[in-house]
Symmetry: C2
């Protein structure tokens, strides 16, 4: 392989990287050109602007993952059903330019009659497994919509979405709880995080547990500046509660930014479950692994 132009194109930003023939990141940068800022028909120019700094891109494959493949993106890359590994993903690539540039499809699964979807995270999952030298595992990708994933034999078997980040933000900024919370989040306070986390586990229902952030403040048992950490522990506790984790399961692989991964690692530690963190390089490794797999098929 010549190298790869790898693009992670989401709703609010675009990240691009140039990888050399061994898959090492030579250069990387990001632009505030998420798909919501791009008019229909303008996608080719934005990609050109994002990669023009690399003259050597001309002879290289370009792979794009993320919301760029959604209905609101460049072209829609239909979801690939689970179980999904490289062969299934490769067969569903949405080629922008035949043999030269393609968008990675998202994946979907069905649980008890209800569909679930991810787009972009599948690439991070494959990358994280590759970075760790694994073909199976349990992973969490925290965020606005957290994904919990089970992989085996190099394929994503099933997954589930939790609206944790979004509901945290709504409670934090727009609910009655916001009235007793400070404007700035401040540093994470591990004690307050643990207090919220344990309360969520004890109550087992966010609709009820969340009100404690109000009453603890009302009764002056939770200083305002610790409120955001308490609430963060509460929603992450609620998310982890449903995973039925046990210490014998092996480590959970946490894929995400250090700030958010730290909170999930803290939560997992409170449950006695080991964690392994993988950072943002997971996307580049995922696209690289897919590219190599395409070459083997060809």
């Amino acid at each position: 392989m010549n190298g790869l132009v790898a693009v992670d194109w989401g709703t609010s930003s675009l990240r691009a990287a140039l990888l050399d023939e061994r898959g090492q990141v030579v250069d990387e940068h990001s632009m505030p050109r998420g798909i919501l800022t791009v008019a229909a028909g303008e996608f080719p120019q934005v990609l050109e602007a994002a990669t023009a700094r690399w003259p050597q891109r001309q002879g290289m494959l370009c792979l794009l993952s993320g919301m760029v493949g959604s209905r609101q993106g460049w072209i829609e890359a239909p979801y690939c059903p689970c179980p999904a590994g490289f062969p299934e993903i490769a067969a569903k690539l949405a080629w922008i330019e035949a043999g030269r540039a393609a968008i990675v499809p998202g994946i979907c699964c069905e649980t008890q009659g209800v569909p679930d979807v991810m787009r972009g995270e599948e690439t991070q999952v494959f990358g994280a497994l590759s970075l760790l030298g694994l073909r199976a595992g349990r992973l969490v990708l925290p965020g606005t919509h957290s994904k919990w994933v089970r992989a085996s034999a190099g394929r994503i078997e099933s997954f589930a979405t939790f609206m944790t980040g979004e509901i945290y933000a709504l409670l934090r900024r727009h609910s009655i709880l916001a009235r007793t919370l400070p404007d700035a989040d401040g540093e994470l306070d591990p004690g307050a995080f643990e207090q919220g986390f344990r309360h969520a586990l004890r109550i087992g229902n966010l609709l009820q547990a969340a009100f404690s952030a109000r009453t603890l403040s009302l009764f002056e048992r939770l200083p305002a500046e610790l409120g955001p950490s308490y609430l963060s522990g509460l929603v992450i506790g609620e998310e982890l509660r449903s995973q039925h984790l046990s210490t014998g399961d092996g480590p959970v692989i946490v894929v995400g930014s250090p700030a958010l991964a730290q909170r999930y690692e803290l939560g997992l530690r409170l449950l006695g479950v080991p964690a392994t963190a993988v950072g943002s390089q997971a996307t580049w490794r995922g696209l690289w692994s897919l590219a190599r797999n395409l070459e083997e098929i060809a």
Copy 2:
């Protein structure tokens, strides 16, 4: 007793009623003068304006319940701890004018180290029990913050708050789910309500279950106009899930507006639990019962 001037003074509105010597409502009206619209010091004038139409009020007791007794209200009526019945409430009345006008205190309870509070709903609970000729029961008061209450021997033993109405509104209007929901709620669709209700019970976690409103719409399995009913079933299902109701427990008493009570009755029916609905007259009966009790004490 001469009769009673009864006032239900909440955050966003004020309702007042004139009750005759037998506790019957002679006249009733409401004003958009919730406590958030009233400046400090302006409360006496607003009460005067709300009751001036009844010259006979001069010789009557006036009892007020609701957020008017909160820190942001007229004067703070400190919470009465559970178990709380008429004697405990009477001892904690916050008198505005000795022997003439008083604010009913809210009540508080403590569950596993975390406090919970209500203000105004305690009056509705006593009123509902009185209207039904009961001194014990399990009640739900649906709303922005739903209250589940256990009463026995004429006292509120314990209760719990669920932020159901508020989180519904946040999801409905401000989350990603809003993107595929119509602007107007429309009529309740019992089928879509049941579908959401059962999904909440199956999943057992709102953070996960809520995302189904997005994916069902994405896969065109839930028409947009049924989305609000589905989401309503989802959050009410999540609330009812935690009540561990069984058919042998006797009916749940649902206290609230007919539109909201109807949804809870539907949910309870899906669980095979009987329900008894009590409407807005519960507040007047509650204040009347308290007034009579004060007279007996005096």
